[in-house]
Symmetry: C2
């Protein structure tokens, strides 16, 4: 399992920049070279290198080097921990919300403040 | 709608620290004072203040000030954009994965490389 707090930090950090989300959206359609994954993205080469490293460190993508071609692909379980955290959070929150609604539906009179 | 790129950046950044996730998990059970929401969390008061500001800036929590009591609560639509992005990403990725599986099931012989 990859779901340590530090891993979650890296996963959410990886998602917190539009260039990195663009790269992930492109790779969701299939593996791509660095050039393909970052085409039209208005950032410098060093910046691209930095963003790719953040994604690799988070375990969201892998890089296969074939000679001079660097091919990027998503890792199957790359964002599973982030999705799980958000799902669990949403469940907690919805359960609470449902309880409040039930309380209000009863007129909020049962002393359950 | 809150789903601009900058908003998504802030949402995912808000989730990228264990102290902030702890605060959100506690608030998912209902509103709480700053003291309740951060009880036992091993960080300084200035650090707590900073983390709360990140959460407020991201629109994930709101703060109600009643005299000296600062009460925190989740915003209903606080993480909707982040959840939507991840859902969409997962759909893209699963569609691709299904296509690859169908291809492999056919023996990968239809020339669709």
């Amino acid at each position: 399992m990859n779901s340590s707090a530090a891993q979650l930090d890296r996963s959410f950090l990886a998602l917190s920049h539009p260039v990195r989300r663009t790269i992930l959206e492109r790779l969701a359609h299939g593996p791509a070279t660095v050039g393909e994954a970052t085409r039209g993205v208005a950032v410098s080469k060093p910046a691209v290198t930095k963003h790719l490293r953040v994604l690799e460190d988070a375990g969201v993508i892998v890089r296969h080097v074939e000679g001079r071609i660097h091919r990027l692909a998503l890792r199957v379980d790359g964002l599973v921990d982030a999705e799980s955290w958000l799902d669990e959070y949403r469940s907690l929150w919805e359960a609470k919300f449902d309880a409040v609604e039930r309380h209000l539906a009863k007129g909020g009179k049962d002393g359950d403040t």
